[in-house]
Subunit: 187 residues, 2 copies
Amino acid sequence: MPAPKRDHLIATAQRLIAREGFKGVSVDRLLQEAGVAKMTLYKGFKTKDELILEVLRRRDSELRDWFMRSVESASDDPRERLLAGFDALEAWAARPDFNGCLFVSALSEYGDDSAPAHRAAREHKRLLLDYVVGLCRDAGLPDPETTGRDLRLLMEGATVARLTLGQTDSYQRAKAMAKSLIDKQRV
Amino acid sequence: MPAPKRDHLIATAQRLIAREGFKGVSVDRLLQEAGVAKMTLYKGFKTKDELILEVLRRRDSELRDWFMRSVESASDDPRERLLAGFDALEAWAARPDFNGCLFVSALSEYGDDSAPAHRAAREHKRLLLDYVVGLCRDAGLPDPETTGRDLRLLMEGATVARLTLGQTDSYQRAKAMAKSLIDKQRV
DNA sequence: CAGCAAACAGACGGACCGGTCTACATGCCC
DNA sequence: GGGCATGTAGACCGGTCCGTCTGTTTGCTG
């Protein structure tokens, strides 16, 4: 299958899944929405589950790449980079089709730890945490592991607040809390 | 339908939904798991969707009642009550069948604002926020609306951190941030 | 223009979906 | 013990699920 068509399938799947859940999107509906024939899908993917996994993999690299690029282009100061993460996520969540974090959704729909989608989601969150912890380390913070987790907690909280309450300034609120958290640790 | 059987059905549905998602649990499977006949279910509920709504309603009152009771029995000091909310949620998330917040899951599976489950979930979050804002007001905080939202953000973040990273101390970390947030506002 | 691979639409199979219905078992009240 | 409501198991319905298969159309290549 040519790459553009494959991308289009994955992107359409992601869009539908975001609004209706992984198990709420049927293959038939996806194909109709994407304007792709069934055989084309099954030539590129063994099963629906494999397509879903590919959606998650694609989203993982997309999101982390974009997060890292945003953060690193925002500033050279490691401490400012930490805070820039909140601005990046704010822009991400401002997209009209935002419906919370796809990986959190994946975990709630695939509660079984052995499910591939479950593992992929946890892996994504782990990698994101590792990156933030690295930023904390670069910033010379005394306990990068703990502070990294705290910052991630703030980011996740902002995402949920945005989703559940439509709170558009949630990331800025989280950023303010992050700032005071970091400032408190200055030696 | 007698109340105990109805409760059992709702409780079983909630347990299954928490692990497999709303759309991942079929009526047949639910009945098998609950040991209840189909006609019994459809005597008590018009459709599967109505059962799901009842699950959410039940969970909403259960969770808020329990949250309020925990908070109010923890202390008479409004400021300490705010912090006690984190301990309450920690105990809630420590249950072995914890799989994130059911209402956040509902929002991600029912992205359409007009879906009853979507509305129920938003309503729940709104009521919870209102309660926390009330606590902030009782504590005499200068901007109870904003601080209430910030505290809720911390709680949600802790829940997601617990789910995605298995971070067992997430609520205590959030509580520490909440404490510094509140202390900062002391006049 | 001929030939061919690939994408197309859509029928199809077996399983399962939500929901209705029948027939049998159980227990309770008079 | 007879009548009756209630719960049971499970057949059944039309529809949809995932995945396979068959033809037809398309568009590229020699």
